[in-house]
């Protein structure tokens, strides 16, 4: 639906109350949002958190002033909802231990054995500890499935700058896994 229209054009139409335009945005972003949530939230809560995110988007869309790109705004809501989710969990006293325990729930069991599971928990915890711009580029490449060219276009940066940021992000993951400070 509306493949030729940019996000911003769809947003403008949606802000006039055009449900079809909103639906086109929803189709465009559902799986990206879902994957981002899936990589950071326990599986049993992924659908609830994804739903909360889109409900917030419906209510907040009128106030979106296009000072940033739509997807930047959307992913800010994603990050805020994920943070809220963990705040609620901490408040309830559930799983109030360390990051490792927190991410342990997000990795589905099976398909690789305990060693593989441990590795995934370690990597996910390492990513969660990274500065946000490092996390973001990793999520853009792996969870959103964007190419480096698309990431550069979205971020308004050169391809070289994006590849350099990506390399530093991967080095930071390596340093986190190895217990070294990230650079």
């Amino acid at each position: 639906m509306f493949p030729e229209l940019s996000d911003e054009a769809l947003v403008r139409q949606a802000q006039q109350g055009d449900w079809d335009s909103f639906q086109a945005l929803y189709d465009r972003y559902l799986n990206k949002v879902y994957n981002r949530v899936k990589s950071r939230i326990p599986p049993e809560d992924v659908e609830d958190v994804t739903q909360d995110i889109f409900v917030v988007v419906v209510h907040a869309l009128k106030g979106f002033e296009a000072r940033s790109r739509f997807n930047t705004w959307l992913y800010t809501i994603v990050n805020r909802q994920i943070a809220d989710y963990y705040r609620r969990r901490y408040r309830k006293g559930e799983n109030a231990a360390d990051d490792l325990e927190m991410v342990e729930d997000t990795i589905p069991a099976g398909g690789g054995g305990q060693e593989n599971l441990d590795e995934q928990i370690e990597v996910q915890a390492a990513i969660q500890r990274l500065p946000e711009h490092y996390q973001e580029i990793i999520l853009q490449r792996f969870a959103d499935g964007l190419t480096f060219e698309e990431i550069a276009q979205q971020r308004g940066q050169s391809l070289e700058a994006v590849k350099s940021l990506y390399r530093r992000a991967i080095q930071a993951v390596r340093d986190q896994i190895g217990g070294e400070p990230d650079g």
Binding site: G17, W19, F22, Q23, Y26, L30, N31, Y34, N35, K38, S39, E47, T50, Q51, F54, V55, V58, H59, L61, K62, I107, G112, N116, E119, Q120, V123, Q124, I127, I138, L139, R141, F142, A143, D144, G145, T147, F148, E160, K163, S164, Y166, R167, I170, Q171, V173, R174, I177
Partner: protein
Amino acid sequence: MDENKELDDELAALTDDLLDGRQPKATLPEVEELGSVVRQVQRTIAPDQAASPIFRDRLEMRLNLEWNRVYPRRQRFWTQRQFQYAAAASVVLVAGILALTLTKPGNDLLQAATGGQTSPVIIAAIIVGVVLGAALLFLRLRR
């Protein structure tokens, strides 16, 4: 700087290869080392699953409800219930008055219009109008 650029390009190419299911080839030792981190990241957060169609449809229905709350549909005046009540009541009233007036014996207007005879077609049309108007009114009031 050039050395870093080579590293950046090679790591990006290795990542593209891995994510596209191709066999990656690294020549720089550091890229080879970072390649194992990329593989670990891929195993952890690769988009291997999309939202299920059931969830997608359920969420879309919920969002449609929320949407109608935030953006209530503006109704045309002829689709508004009050207008429809008034229109149906008017049809009944006008048809009733017409029926009474036109079927009155010795009515000049009717005789002029029908050439001196009260046409059964006109009377039938008036009755149909009354019945349709009444039915419309009844249906609207029942909802």
